[in-house]
Symmetry: C2
Subunit: 182 residues, 2 copies
Amino acid sequence: MEISPSGFYEILSPRCTVLISTVDKEGRANAAPFSFVTPVSSNPPLLLYASAPQRHTLANTREIGDFVLNIVPEALLDRLWVCSKAFPKGVSEIEQAGLTERKSKKVKSPSIEECAGWIECTLEFEKEAGDHILVVGRVVHAECKDEFARKGEFDISRAKPVMHIRGKRFAVAERVVQVKGE
Amino acid sequence: MEISPSGFYEILSPRCTVLISTVDKEGRANAAPFSFVTPVSSNPPLLLYASAPQRHTLANTREIGDFVLNIVPEALLDRLWVCSKAFPKGVSEIEQAGLTERKSKKVKSPSIEECAGWIECTLEFEKEAGDHILVVGRVVHAECKDEFARKGEFDISRAKPVMHIRGKRFAVAERVVQVKGE
C-alpha cells in the first residue's frame, strides 16, 4: 500500500514521545509533547528535538538556553494529551494537566515530578530543516525514578513509556525481546 | 537513580529501529541498523538519521545521494542483528542475513523485500553533531506491505516493529492505546 510522502511518519512509528518542559524569562513554566526526538551523539552526549517554529517550547529554549525531556509512563497518557492543547504563552500546561513542577538538578527549566525519567539539556545549536527547526541539546544530567530501575538500568517493562502513532493513538512499550545470535 | 550523561539514550528508549539500505557506485548493496532516527518535517517530508562518521551507510549515502529506511518486524530481529556486524565494505549484509534485495521505486538504493515498510529518501543535507553526522533525507516514496495495513493505515499490532533499548535488548511495539480526553 502506497503512503503519501507527507504521511511517511505514520510508518516510522511508534516513536518515543516525551514531554519537554521549559521556562520563559518571567519564570513561567511550559510543557508540550514531542515525538520527533532522538539521541544523536554519545560523546559529547547530544540529543535532538524537531519543533515547528511557533512553539512556545522553542521560544523558551532560545530565551533561557535549556530544556528537559520528561519520560512519560502509560499512566500519564491522558495528562500528556492535555499538554498538547494550545494554551496562551505563560499558562503552565504542567498545572493545567494536574502535574507537579520539580526543580531540575542542573538547568533552569523545571522537570515534571510524575514522569518516569528526566534528561536535562542545554542548547547546543539549532538548524532549520523544512518546516521544523532541529534543536540540538547537550545532556548535562539524566535520572530515572528508582521504582522504574532494575539492576542499575531503566526498565521499560515497569515504566511502560508511551509512543506516538498518529492522532490520539499511541503504543505502549513493555514486551522486551532479546537477540538470540552472537 | 542517576544515569551517566553519556548513557542517557538508555532512558530515551525504546527507539524505532530500522535497517537503512544503500548502494555504492560499484552497485554493491549495504544494510545496517540505526536507532538514532526521527521524522523532522512534514512539508517538505524530511527525516533524519545520525551516523558515526566511518559507517558504510554514510559513505554510500554521500556517493549515491539516496537511502532507504526499512521497517523491521519482530520476525526479522535476529537478521537485523546479523546486519549490525562489521563486514568489509562491498559485502552485502542483506545477503549475509539471508534477506532479499528488492528494487526501490524512486531511488537507486535497494530495499529489503522481507521488511514491513519502506521509506525511500534522497539526501537533502548533512550537519555534524558531536561524534555523529546528522543525515537529513527527503522522502520521495513511502509504502507498507498490504498484510500490515488495516483500513488504509499501517497497523503496528500486525507489523510488531522492533525498537532498541540497549545491546541485544529490544522492545516490540504491539499494544495500542487511545487517549480518552478530547
